[in-house]
């Protein structure tokens, strides 16, 4: 009979239940969307922040002090200690290899441009977008396009194995009237410096020093400079967690950590532990966090996550209040029914049970519908804010149904007290 009443109350009182269910659906979808996004937002935001460039810079352990004037290094490269390019895939061997989004090697030499009074410009060799087999991923693609997404090319990117392709920096191109398709003769400075005729594939905008020089595939620059297999520095882009007390302590001096702290630091994707691990993997390099990037990333992600939590809690409370007032209305409307049940001999708890069960069913139905709606909503938000879909976390479903039932019950609990206060004598005999 109890279930019969529950069922009939739903099927024959659909309209009345619809409002409560809709409230829950709205709340649940909002909470689902927010939860989904806040679970994913850390990764999403970190990736997003990667467009501001690499957050780790690798240089040889004893890099010579370069003698740079106007972006042109007058120190001959021959004497410099360089990094072996063969070592680089080891970056993807470290404990946090999954957090390494990509890396790009650089070799910067000074070049003379023919036909313009032997003008000296920096020539940077790098990889643009190359398949680099690493442990566990034969298809790993990396290069400057991954690491520095803000580099923009007007024209087309050179292929990494195209020996005759080059990018001209926007500043240089403006001064020398270069445009895509032009051919230029470039000679690397120094005795061993080779010479090559390149085709300008595109004009590069970076808002950095690269704009006043040339950028060519790494292999070509290595060959022209006679430094096969060598690179000068590497930019690494890693997903990191925000700095906290432990990482700051480690930053001051890693000796002061006790072993438990050290383990915890090592096994957390702090930018400092990742650089430490890179240095372990490749002995002859120094890896340094680019702190401005690393620190602001963490702060922004933290703030956004906090914001999401606040909004989620607000949604929770708002819908609880909504349900609560709906429930008060329902009890007012159904006071005769309640009075009748009591007059027929129903105990208070039996009436409670019916009403709370109704709420619980509303919660479950609303929660499930809300999950579906919320999934859609989170995709819409994901697409419009981040330009990509949000990963769906299955954990959200049970959590959300539980939360919905809780909202429904919590919202019903206070008004249910009215049931106890309701005297059948007052509602049954014509007094209203």
């Amino acid at each position: 009979m109890f279930f019969l009443m529950l069922r009939q109350s739903f099927f024959r009182g659909r309209k009345r239940k619809a409002l409560a269910t809709i409230t829950i659906v709205l709340a649940a979808s909002l909470i689902t969307a927010l939860m989904n996004i806040s679970i994913d937002v850390g990764d999403k935001m970190s990736k997003e922040m990667k467009s501001y460039g690499a957050n780790i810079n690798m240089v040889p352990k004893s890099e010579n002090i370069s003698l740079e004037i106007g972006g042109v290094d007058y120190n001959p490269l021959e004497g410099q200690v360089l990094i072996d390019q063969k070592e680089l895939p080891k970056i993807k061997d470290i404990f946090w290899h999954n957090n390494i989004v990509g890396y790009a090697p650089f070799l910067k030499v000074t070049a003379e441009l023919a036909g313009s009074g032997k003008r000296r410009v920096p020539l940077v060799g790098t990889e643009f977008d190359r398949v680099t087999p690493v442990a566990g991923d034969e298809e790993f693609r990396t290069g400057v396009k991954v690491v520095n997404p803000y580099w923009q090319v007007h024209g087309e990117w050179p292929a990494d194995d195209d020996g005759g392709a080059i990018l001209a920096g926007a500043g240089l191109a403006r001064e020398m009237n270069l445009k895509a398709g032009d051919r230029i003769r470039v000679k690397v400075a120094g005795e061993k410096g080779g010479e090559e005729i390149f085709t300008v594939k595109g004009i590069l905008t970076t808002s950095g020093a690269e704009e006043s020089g040339l950028v060519a595939p790494l292999q070509v620059v290595q060959r022209l400079a006679g430094l096969e297999g060598k690179v000068q520095s590497v930019s690494v882009s890693a997903l990191t967690v925000p700095e906290d007390k432990l990482s700051r302590k480690a930053r001051n001096s890693s000796d002061k950590l006790d072993s438990a702290e050290y383990d915890r630091w090592y096994c957390t994707a702090y930018v400092s532990s990742i650089t430490h691990q890179i240095e372990e993997a490749i002995p002859n390099v120094t890896a340094r966090p680019i702190w401005q990037v690393a620190a602001s990333e963490g702060a922004v992600v933290n703030k956004i996550q906090l914001l999401m939590i606040v909004v989620t809690v607000a949604a929770f409370i708002a819908s609880g209040l909504g349900i609560s007032s709906l429930m008060v209305t329902t009890i007012m409307e159904r006071s005769r029914e309640i009075g009748l049940m009591k007059a027929l001999g129903a105990a208070d708890w039996e009436v409670y049970l019916l009403f709370l069960s109704e709420s619980a069913v509303v919660g479950v139905v609303g929660g499930l519908l809300g999950c579906a709606a919320g999934y859609g909503l989170s995709q819409v938000i994901g697409l419009s804010v981040f330009g990509s879909t949000v990963a769906f976390s299955p954990i959200v479903i049970p959590v959300n149904v539980a939360i919905s039932v809780m909202i429904a019950l919590a919202g019903s609990l206070m008004p249910s007290r009215l049931i106890t206060k309701l005297y059948p004598a007052e509602v049954l005999h014509g007094r209203r």
Partner: protein
């Protein structure tokens, strides 16, 4: 002498400083049909609420079917109501989302056990055998009142208490309900009926007239 089902001694009910019921003494015998009449505000409904254990008296005694009820707790009064009393209301008070049959079964459910055969039989008894699957909104006033009567009868209560059962009905339906009460009376049920309608009171064994909460007159209707 027939068995006394219900007895009050000095039954009094006050609301604040209003005395709605003032030292009422009365006895109702088994199988008797008693009408309670009186002007509006004379305390008829208050009386019925006390008799149906929906409310507790301020003073006085009320013995129902051998049980002294005046000093019972709310919980115990719920039990007495469930076991001994059948209630009929002016506004029927059917649960809107339950069918006629389910409404009758609801009384069984809170009383003891549901038995749809019995419930159906009770509806056949009040002439609604063909309407058992209808919702209250699909029934006329008279039909709804008959469902209410079937519900009041289903648990074989010691007394049936009705507060202006024809107050919301037109004449034709009033007739139907009156006939039903007569039949219940013939079956030997104890009925206490609050009514404004002298015609209805005509058929009862006895009429008690209330005035300002006091019994003004208690006499055979004939």
């Amino acid at each position: 002498m027939e068995q006394i089902v219900l007895e009050t001694k000095g039954l009094t009910k006050r609301f604040g400083n209003v005395t709605s019921l003032d030292r009422v003494d009365m006895q109702v015998r088994k199988g008797e049909w008693v009408s309670i009449m009186g002007p509006s505000g004379s305390g008829k409904t208050t009386m019925l609420n006390l008799l149906s254990c929906l409310d507790a008296p301020s003073e006085g005694e009320y013995i129902l079917d051998g049980v002294a009820t005046a000093t019972l707790t709310e919980k115990q009064r719920v039990a007495v109501r469930r076991e001994k009393i059948g209630l009929i209301f002016q506004q029927f008070h059917l649960v809107p989302y339950l069918t006629a049959l389910e409404n009758v079964m609801l009384a069984q459910y809170y009383h003891s056990m549901i038995d749809s055969k019995d419930a159906e039989q009770a509806l056949v008894h009040v002439g609604l055998g063909h309407r058992i699957g209808h919702l209250p909104s699909q029934l006329s006033g008279g039909e709804q009142q008959r469902v209410c009567i079937a519900r009041a009868l289903i648990n074989q209560p010691a007394i049936i208490l009705a507060d202006e059962p024809t107050g919301n009905l037109d004449e034709a339906n009033e007739e139907v309900v009156l006939n039903l009460f007569q039949e219940l009376h013939r079956e030997g049920r104890t009925i206490i009926l609050v009514t404004h309608n002298p015609e209805l009171a005509e058929y009862s064994d006895r009429v008690i007239r209330l005035h300002h909460g006091r019994v003004q007159n208690d006499a055979s209707a004939h």
